[in-house]
Symmetry: C2
Subunit: 153 residues, 2 copies
Amino acid sequence: MKENEPPSTLETHLGYWLRMVSNAVSHSFARKVEREGVTVSEWVFLRALYDAERVQPSHLAEGMGMTKGAISKLSDRLFEKSLIERHANPDDRRAHTLALNAAGCELVPRLAALADRNDAEFFDALTPDERQRLAKLLRKIVEKRELAGAPVD
Amino acid sequence: MKENEPPSTLETHLGYWLRMVSNAVSHSFARKVEREGVTVSEWVFLRALYDAERVQPSHLAEGMGMTKGAISKLSDRLFEKSLIERHANPDDRRAHTLALNAAGCELVPRLAALADRNDAEFFDALTPDERQRLAKLLRKIVEKRELAGAPVD
DNA sequence: CACATTTGGTTAACTAGGAAACTGAAATTC
DNA sequence: GAATTTCAGTTTCCTAGTTAACCAAATGTG
């Protein structure tokens, strides 16, 4: 007959601790960028545009691991906030590309500074060596599990 | 004059990698428990009730790091799914307590098994020793930053 | 004891995202 | 070269949270 073990607790799972820290980091960052009038996904979106100059929404959806619908709304919001521009694509009348405008270009470095600060704030609980090891462990999981796409939520 | 450095990229932040792995773990777990008809927050909720027998919603909100409003709706949902019972509190006519019913009691171990499986699935990318070290690093951050409350989202 | 304050919980309005239906343009296929 | 299929993006409907207003019961204060 089967032994009747008690069900495992939440805390026995690595995923639990991971989520606890990850949520705290994200939440704290959300509060920081909120003061600049944007959300975390908007930051990821803008940061992607900063590098790429002109991006198709579909490309962005891919890269950010979000649905096309979400990207569509996200770009509406950023357009509304006057941070990005839309450009028609002459070769394909369905498609268009997105790009930062001047205000967007100016905002990204400020947000990046907040991201730096937030990260430092949390991970100074660890020694530089520990941080190094944590990064290595996480990247190893990402690699082995073939995870991809900027995490947003 | 100030050097004009390029803004840091997403990947330079530990929080980025953390969120990437954490999201993947949660998402995969969400798909698993979905087959048992519950969500991740419902699992956390039910698991808390399993230990405590009878819990006040406010207490649960505290423990799960969610708002009272969210707990209110969550308990509605679980009541609707016939997994929990409400008991009036004779000492305080505002308050009530929540408890698992028979079906809820039976479900929790099945969900726990899924949680075990999900965790194993992700972290077998690491050696037992690495897992140990990862747990230690995460707990150190939790401690130093005094994080609390079961992460849910 | 009356009245203000605090507390436990619900509700309403809002936000962000997902899934799937939909629209119009491009590419295939016969 | 007309008909179908695929593709880019938008829209609609739904879910699950948050915040803030709210209600009723309990507590406390003059």
